[in-house]
Amino acid sequence: MNLSFSKEDQEFQQEVRSFIEQNYPSEIKEKQDQGIPLSKEDTVKWHKILNDKGWLAVNWPEELGGTGWTITQKHIFQNELAAANTPTLMPFGVNMCGPVIYTFGSDEQKEFHLPKILNGDIWWCQGYSEPGSGSDLASLKTKAEKKGDVYVVNGAKTWTTLAQHADWIFCLVRTDGSGKKQEGISFLLIDMKTPGVEVKPIITIDGTHEVNMVYFDNVEVPVTNLVGEEGFGWSIAKFLLAHERTGIAGIPSLKRELDRLRDITTQIQVGEGSLKDDAMFMSKLDRLEIKLTAAEYTELRTLAAMSAGGHPGPESSILKILGTDLQQELSDLFVEAVGYYAHPFMTEEDLASNESRIGPDFAAPVMPHYLNYRKVSIYGGSNEIQRNVIAKAVLGL
């Protein structure tokens, strides 16, 4: 057992650091540091910068554009990106649809989609949840009927993150309603420009437009857009959920945000001193930091086991729970830290405007973030569902 970085690892860390220093566009950095929401163009710009360097599809097989890095190198890379506060890239293409296509897709699909996922020309969104199917995903009803060389799709998807920007959507659809509910599900790729696709915003309690309803009204999708066999969708969904949950812990960003909160405590005046002198508050911060360290090493242990034994298994459910717990607790501590200045209502437009903010700059995004982050224990399989997964797959119950 040896958990320290080798000389090669230290050199790699230096290489990543200098790359970020030289290539992270200052206008994006400024927005990030001030908590100003990024535009689609900002995110795509950073996506392309990483791709040009060959550092985008970190986990893909090397021959398809992956990095071939060790778990230590991946750990270092994610930590450096997070420490520099670079934009969070959308996972739907690179981390989700990409692996599905190169694992289960046809040669044609690989040839068409993989390069566009890498270069950021196609923005993907995920069509899983439906108004009637939340945690019970397999009960989904969006129907795809095969008619000649097309599937005719009818139904509705919900909670579709950033569908307003998306070019394509990957969907779980029902191709057979007769047998067990898991068996009649298929995985379909749909161009958002196809007639009959309509996107409607859902405004969330933080006042933002992040998620959407996506309606399908007699949408004709070429049968060549089916990934894998008909009825194979549920297996793909399970494969994908396991992939999704490992990154979901967001440990590196948590570390940066916790350090930032520590720094903020020195800037918040309390009487003649600062919040840093409040032992009760600081103790909560310390507890959270220890919990974060435990989660970080749990993730590293999981990754190490994975690199020895293949695909992420139910262990990723543990990370989903640990990570999202931490994200929510930290977002709450931020609210607690800024006190009354969490109360002014800041819209996305307010945050992006040049007008000076009410209260300290760091206070403005805190409450929207807290409210927005109620989602993390609900999405990607609610934390209760994750406990069911662990109970069944790990504890054998």
Binding site: M1, N2, L3, S4, F5, I71, T72, H75, A279, M282, S283, D286, R287, I290, K291, T293, A294, A295, E296, Y297, T298, L300, R301, A304, A305, A308, I318, I321, L322, E384, R387, N388, I390, A391, V394, L395, G396, L397
Partner: protein, 375 residues
Amino acid sequence: MDFSLTEEQQLLQDSINQFIEREYTFDDRKKYLDSEKGFNDENWKTFGSLGWLGMPFSEVDGGYNGGPVDVMVIMENLGKGLIVEPYVPSILLSGKILADLGSDDQKSNYLHPMISGEKIITFAYIEPQSRFNLSDCLTKSTVSDDGFVLDGYKALVHNASASDTLIVSARTSGNQCDEKGISLFLVDANAKGVSLRNYSTIDGGKASELTLENVTVPKDSLLGVMDEGFSTIDNAIDLATLGICAEAVGIMGKMNEMTLEYTKTREQFEQKLSQFQALQHRMVDNFMHYEQSKSLLVMCAAKMNDNTEDKKKALASLKYQIGLSGKHIGEESIQLHGGMGVTDEMHIGHYFKRLTTIRTLYGNSDYHLSNYASL
């Protein structure tokens, strides 16, 4: 980064587990507890001959050059068997002190026979008022013509009644809580003026309250340099803290196993307890507590040889977590066993008691959290 154990460490793990399976059933353990010493001499000699007692010491000192990871492997597996032999007080505390400070003579008279299993040596340092502060020491030692004279009182001296020799911390200069001015002495357990009030501890161990009244020890009983004992005590407690945290992780893993097993057999309302979702989720939380504790244990074992601040931070994180998870898993395991969980007959309660004493030993969660904050 590499989280795997070496082949030797896996063999060590296997040999401890085999020993527990063969020689350490719950009935065996009960016999050992009921004996006067509170453990079994034969077992202790077996530990010596299998190399477990010498693991943390250098080859020059007659040991096997093991590091913190080896100590972790030993203690985690001893924990699974709820072993009562005095590995922590004798090997990890007294052994570490002797290895750090002992002269050649002291090592050959004390450390070597300890490693071979012939001698038990315990460490007396806790005082009624000291709580977790290692520099709070009122027991006094004064220089005399023949050597030193010790006076004072030590609390919770583990396995003192079975020890041939005690290592005693005593103030040779300075004020009650000064780090400087604490010295360490080898004291014969039968020396005049040494009196022990022996008792059993709630976790199945043995301990004593020790009174030192005008105890004269020779000049060569001083360990290391006069007044400079503190950092050695601190290092030994650090190693022992890693040890009991590993023990706790072993215990928690075992308790989770036992609880799962129990809920899979026990039926209520015409179904197995394990089929109730409310209980399943609680067992998942127990499992996650275990994983987090294990992660910090592994991290800490890997950082024991790092610079002082990193090591101290890792230890504070780990012991804080063990206190938290020990309470959670301990209490939940009893609850999930229902009424049976509070009977002496079931094994779970015995694991619970040891886990509960570990929460306090070498500082509870609050103490380690405040250590963490100060780093």
